[in-house]
Amino acid sequence: MLTSEMIKERALAAGADNCGIGSMDRFEGAPPEMDPRYIFPEAKSIVGMVFRIPRGVQRGIEEGTQFYQYPSMAYGGINEIFAPAVLYQVGQLIEDHGYEACIYRNTGARGVVSDMDGSPGNTLSPEEQIEVVNQAKRKTAHHRSVQFTRPARPGQIPPDLQFHFRLAAVACGLGEIGWSKMFLTKEFGPLQRVAFIFTDAELEPDPLYSGKPLCRRCMACVRECPGGCLSRTESIKVSIGGKICEWGKLDEWRCYAFYTHGGRKFNPFVPKEVWDKNENGDLDLLEGKSQASEKEIMKVYRALEKYFPSWVGYNMAKCGGCIRACVSMLEKKGGCMEGRFKEPLRTGKAWVMDR
C-alpha cells in the first residue's frame, strides 16, 4: 500500500530537499482559474517538493560580480532539469502502485490568467526573456501568450491552468508566505523552488505549518526593493485550509521591470549615459516617471536589448532586492534558517552603484 512515508522517502532519495503532502480540499475557495482541482478532478492529494536554491549562487550577486549562475542554475537548472527528474521518479513510484501521478513542474506561468495582474491573456514571468525583436513582428504580444485558449467542455477552465505555487506549498505544510510574497521554509528561508504531483492516492496529509512565524515582518524586503514594488502597509490575505496567509501588496509589473533591468543604480550592464539620456522616455518606468504596465515594460526591453541581449539566456536578477535582503536579515535576526551557514551572506552594506 502506498503511504506518505514511502513518497517522502523516494522524493528525498531522488534529490528533493523536503517533501510535504496536503489534501485537495485545502484549495476550497481558490478562484477557478487557479484551482488545481480542475486539472485533475479525481485528485485527493497533492505532494509538494522543495528544492533548495544554493546560497552560493546568490554570492556573486551579493558581491555585484557574477549574476549568471543564479538564473542558470537556480531557475533554469532547478525548474527545467533537476525538479522534473525528481518528479519523474516520484511519479513512477505512484504509478507503480496503480495511481495517477499528475506531475507539475514550474513552467514559469503560462496560465489562462496573468500571474502579473490576474488579467486574462498575456502572461509573463520576470525570469524569462522576451524575444523582443521577434515578438514585435507578431500579432500576439509575447511568446507566453495564451489568449486564444478556450474551455474544452462547458464548465471547464481554459488551459493551461496555472495554480498558485507558493500557496500550494503552504497547502502541503512546507512553510509560509512572507511579507515579500516569497515562500519561506524553516530550513532555507526564501531560498527554494517547489514542484508538485497531484494524485488520486489518498495519502495522510501533513498539518499546515503552525510553528513560530517564519517571516519577521522586518520589512527588509520593502526597504531594499529598488523599485519600491512592495507595499509596507497594504496587504493581500488568502485562506488555505483555514490558514490565513498574508503578504504585502506587490506591483508585479513593476517588480518584473526592476527584476530584469534593475534601474540605474542596480544594473551594471547598462552604462550610466544610457540612463541619463533616457531616449524617447523609454526608461521612464525604471526612472520612476511612469506607472508599470506591459506596454512600459516592452519599451524598456526594446531600449535595453542591445546592452544585454535576450538570447544569452534567462534574465539575470539585477535588482538584488528582496531575496538577499530577506536572507541577510534572517541570518542576523533569526526567524528561520538559523545556524545554516558558518559565515553570513552579507558582511557589509549592500552595494548600490554611485550614479
Binding site: G15, G56, F67, M353
Partner: protein, 301 residues
C-alpha cells in the same frame, strides 16, 4: 564533517570522471575578472570536476557517419543537464555542513569585458562590453573563471597547444565544472607538466588552420567548426557559389576575424541548430581527435 575524501567519493558517485581540489591561492595574480575570490571573498578552495565526453562521439564524426550526437550529448547534455544536476547535488552536500558552494557551470555564451574571443560551440557569444563595476575595487561583472587555469589549480590537467584541457585518461575528451567554497578542504597539488608535447597534430588536423603558435584563433575555429571546409560531408557546390573567395574559404586559407566570421555564419548552415543555440560540430573536433590519437599511441593516456 565534510572533507576532501567525502567530496571526491560523492563526486565520482554522482557522475564525475575525475575530481580535484585546488587551493584558492593558486589564482594569485589573475585578472580580477577571472578571480574566484571576487565571487566569494573568503573562499578557501575550488573543487574541479571533469566529465568524460564518450570517445565514440568523436569516432563517428571523424568517420563521417554521425554528427548530431556530439553536440547534443557531448556538449549540451553535459553542460546543461548532467553538470547542473551534479552541481546542485554537490552544492547541497557542502551547504549541509554550513559552507558556501558557489556553483560554476560553464558560462558558455558570455565573454568578460575585454575578451574578444568566441565559443565556436554556440550560435554566438556576447562580450560584456557595457559592464561597469558596481563599486570601486570590484571588477566589471560577470566574473568568469578561466576553466583551464582552474583545472590546473585543481590538479586535473593542463591546456595543450589547441587551448583545450588535456587530462590523464580522458585526454581532451572532457568537459568541466567547478565549485568555489569556503570549506576548509585538503587541497591537491596543481597539475605538473602538461601532457601536450607540442607535436602539432592538432594544428595539422584543423581544416581551418585555426591553431597557430599563439593558440587557437576562436573566430577562425568557429567558421570551420560549422563546416566551411572542403572535407565537410554536407558540402555542396551551392555553398558560396559565385563568391570569388570560395576556394580560399573551403581550403581553409582565408583568415576570419570577428566581423567576417559573423558575416559568413548564416551561409554555413548544414545541420539544424537554432532551437538549442548550439552549433553542430562539422569539423569533428579534428584537433582533439588527433590529439587523442597521438597521446594514445604514445602511451600517455
Amino acid at each position: 564533517m565534510i572533507n576532501a575524501e567525502i567530496i571526491k567519493q560523492k563526486a565520482l558517485e554522482y557522475g564525475a570522471a575525475a575530481v580535484g581540489i585546488g587551493d584558492i591561492a593558486g589564482f594569485a595574480g589573475v585578472s580580477p575578472q577571472r578571480d574566484p575570490k571576487m565571487i566569494l571573498p573568503h573562499a578557501k578552495c575550488i573543487i574541479g570536476f571533469l566529465f568524460r565526453v564518450p570517445r565514440a562521439l568523436f569516432r563517428t564524426m571523424n568517420e563521417h557517419t554521425q554528427f548530431m550526437q556530439y553536440t547534443q550529448v557531448g556538449v549540451k547534455y553535459i553542460d546543461e543537464d548532467l553538470s547542473e544536476i551534479f552541481l546542485l547535488k554537490m552544492g547541497a552536500l557542502i551547504e549541509n555542513e554550513g559552507y558556501d558552494a558557489c556553483l560554476q557551470r560553464n558560462i558558455s555564451n558570455l565573454r568578460i569585458k575585454g575578451d574578444h574571443s568566441t565559443n565556436p560551440e554556440l550560435v554566438d557569444t556576447y562580450e560584456l562590453v557595457n559592464a561597469e563595476p558596481v563599486a570601486p575595487g570590484k571588477p566589471a561583472p560577470d566574473v568568469i573563471i578561466d576553466f583551464n587555469l582552474a583545472a590546473a589549480v585543481c590538479g586535473l590537467g593542463r591546456a595543450g597547444d589547441s587551448g583545450h584541457l588535456i587530462a590523464p585518461k580522458l585526454g581532451p575528451f572532457l568537459r568541466m565544472a567547478f565549485i568555489v567554497t569556503d570549506a576548509p578542504l585538503v587541497c591537491d597539488p596543481p597539475f605538473g607538466a602538461p601532457l601536450c608535447d607540442h607535436c602539432g597534430a592538432c594544428a595539422a588536423a584543423c581544416p581551418g588552420k585555426a591553431i597557430g603558435e599563439e593558440g587557437t584563433d576562436t573566430w577562425q575555429c568557429a567558421v570551420y567548426y560549422r563546416g566551411a571546409h572542403k572535407s565537410n560531408p554536407f558540402m555542396t557546390e551551392q555553398f558560396l557559389a559565385g563568391d570569388p573567395e570560395r576556394e580560399q574559404v573551403i581550403e581553409g586559407e582565408k583568415h576570419f576575424d570577428r566581423e567576417s566570421a559573423r558575416a559568413i555564419y548564416k551561409k554555413i548552415d548544414f545541420l539544424p541548430s537554432r532551437s538549442t543555440g548550439y552549433i553542430p560540430c562539422i569539423c569533428g573536433r579534428a584537433c582533439d581527435a588527433a590529439c587523442y590519437r597521438h597521446l594514445k599511441e604514445k602511451g600517455v593516456l
